[in-house]
Symmetry: C2
Subunit: 436 residues, 2 copies
């Protein structure tokens, strides 16, 4: 089920959208059967791009923040989903520890933590927030703009368990993507549930593995509803150890970019799509030092190379990775976004808890183009509200017909990406038997 | 989790309410563990009475109608809960058949069916409505005030399965309380899921069995949160084969009423409660011909006797039971309701799907008193809305403190009654091993 949220989309539903709406019963059944075989990630958010002719996920976050952006009306859905998740994992749960990002003095991020705390408190758990940051040596209480306070406590480890002072959780919820590596304090916790598992962190995760899994999911889904998987699947290539510090360092990348652009061009020709193909390059391990860059032609790579170097040098998350010039690169088919909110280019972000879509918002960037990454300084968020009751007759709509749930297709794409993430986490589970 | 709905209650939280709010984490965990052992009814609604000093369920409906009364904002919660329920029962489900009440030309009831259909359609099922009424010999399509239409089709049986023309459901949802008896067409359906099971129908069900189970639940819950179970449990007695046609026919009933009034009086004395005790008498099998009557003193029974006779003779559901004067009677401790909506006496009704509270409304009756049954001609419904975000500072409330969820306690009482119903259905399951 996907809540009926108001999207910015207007105009008639296109063929792909209509196919998805018409196949709702088959799609929901298929998801139900998939979730019998696969465990959904505990929570996730997916950035979706809708080019009209194509609708695809471009990023799947397994440590979603931004929960504070969702409207208050979404809270009960999130709580109900959280409760369903907890019931499956640890029905006897009493105490939940949230482990936040280490750099947590940002009010916006703290408000996200407060919202997550509220969700799990309302699900009936005692919740504390335990930081693994070396800077948090004792409890720190901070005020939030809405009058709430939030207390970060240092995580302590005792034998096989972690907790905070006088608080022994059975479940630990990571809201920290571990991109700096897995700290020892989180390793070998055999007696506690750690969610999501460590291999979901960016120390292990690779975007290319995720999109390889998504390719598999999109093939199966395409077969289910009778569409070409390409219509929902962004093509990709990878290029390892690209050294952006010299022209020769990006030669292999240039070839791969050309290869991918050729593939996309072929598809555009097949469908009579007029838009010029482009690709997006980003670090396969999500390293923020590289940035996310749009490449419209392999001839542009020299200028892109300089942008990467500049970005890497100026990266605000400077530290041990600053100045790095060598990256494993994901080259992803660019998907235009045709959604606009208040004249700004927009893309929907779908939030999920367990297998349920619980809300969403538009990420909007007034200064960026339809083929650029919108996630960066200057972006803003427009929460999606529930659609007004479609039960009442509306002008121009024939009696009894209710407005279609345009958000439904985004919820489907979000869940397909979540399903791919569950394949991915199975494939990378160090304790699993060989994945074949 | 219980959604935060606006209640009519104002004033400080009393001791019982505060105890329930303070014990939220323990209560939610307890429910989670109970649902590991017991299967919740597929759906249910519970009438709750709040006397201030006492808060108790007075009726538990296992075939709830009135889904159309809930606000549209509740729909996503109901859908999510329905999906969780379907996943557990029959993940491969495609088709669901709703079997409605037989007298279904009432627009209000048809709107309820339309809303149930919507819930399960949004959960991803194909839904049809199949009537077992002898009056429905071919498909009938009726218009609803909101422009929707609803089609009732005659149920057909083929070997061990039922369905409607060209529609073979795997799950059958009864919205028919079978008070006229279980029709043969529903018996021995071994290959389909029939929800709720046949023993939930009033042909089998007895209120006294439900309240016996509730007594057990209330004792365990009382121990959990450290309160006298009486504070949530309405005492009761039964009296079989009461013949209201003669004075001598109600002698045994008089004695039982006296006995129960004495028990309540003792409890009132223990707690210093000033209110005069009263009891409510009703048919143990929910037979509408008897009515639901308030008895303040056993001396009133002669007048009550005449009311029952009058009610039985005039009962609008006249038919084979009209003119009946002998009933098995449940004598239930009366619980005042101190809630008022628009100056009318009101009682909350809590709606649940699977284990989740998904909404509620107030049943209001302007012409009735605080110690009377509100469910009758002249009653109206006031849907409960979600509370406005309690995250923002509110005048007079200290920063960071959010308004308590006053609806929470109603959700707890509703779920306790639902748990009692699950004990009850286990105890009356004809296929279960001996219940001890």
């Amino acid at each position: 089920m996907v809540p009926h949220l108001v999207t910015a989309l207007t105009g008639p539903t296109n063929e792909l959208e209509q196919r998805i709406l018409d196949s709702m019963a088959a799609i929901e059944r298929w998801f139900r059967l998939e979730w019998m075989e696969h465990t959904p990630p505990f929570y996730s958010s997916v950035d979706v791009r809708n080019a009209g002719y194509k609708l695809a996920p471009v990023d799947t976050n397994l440590f979603p923040d931004g929960w504070n952006i969702l409207t208050p009306a979404m809270l009960p859905l999130a709580v109900q989903a959280a409760q369903a998740a907890i019931e499956k994992i640890c029905p006897e749960a009493r105490n939940l520890l949230i482990v936040p990002e280490n750099h947590t003095h940002n009010t916006f991020y703290l408000s996200n933590l407060a919202q997550l705390r509220r969700v799990f408190q309302m699900a009936g758990l005692n919740v504390r927030i335990g930081s693994i940051s070396p800077d948090i040596k004792k409890s720190v209480t901070m005020d939030l703009p809405n009058g709430e306070t939030i207390t970060l406590e240092p995580v302590v480890r005792t034998k096989g368990r972690i907790g905070v002072k006088d608080f022994d959780p059975c479940t630990i919820l990571l809201n920290n993507d571990l991109r700096a590596g897995v700290p020892g304090i989180l390793e070998d916790l055999h007696e506690q549930y750690l969610l999501p598992p460590l291999q979901a962190g960016w120390a292990t995760r690779r975007k290319s593995v995720h999109f390889k899994c998504f390719e598999e999911v999109s093939k199966r889904f395409g077969k289910l509803i009778g569409v070409d998987p390409w219509l929902i699947n962004p093509l990709f290539e990878t290029c390892e150890q690209v050294d952006f510090s010299s022209e020769t360092g990006v030669e292999a990348l240039t070839a791969r970019v050309d290869l991918l652009l050729t593939k996309i061009r072929k598809k555009h020709k097949e469908y009579g799509i007029k838009e010029k193909p482009f690709v997006v390059i980003k670090a396969d391990n999500s390293d923020g030092h590289m940035g996310v860059l749009t490449v419209r032609d392999s001839k542009d790579l020299e200028s892109v190379r300089h942008q990467v170097l500049q970005h890497a040098a100026q990266a605000p998350t400077a530290g041990k990775g600053a100045g790095k010039t060598v990256f494993d690169v994901l080259i992803q088919e660019g998907v235009l976004t045709c959604e606009r909110v208040n004249d700004g280019v927009a893309e929907p972000v779908v939030y999920m808890m367990d297998r349920y879509v619980v809300g969403g918002f538009y990420r909007v960037h007034a200064q960026r183009k339809v083929d650029q990454n919108l996630n960066g300084p200057g972006s803003s968020f427009v929460p999606l509200a529930f659609a007004e009751s479609a039960h009442l007759p509306q002008p121009g709509i024939k009696p009894g017909a209710s407005a279609p749930n345009r958000f439904y297709m985004y919820g489907v794409i979000g869940r397909l990406a979540m399903l791919a993430a569950s394949y991915e986490l199975e494939a990378t589970d160090p304790e699993a038997e060989q994945y074949s």
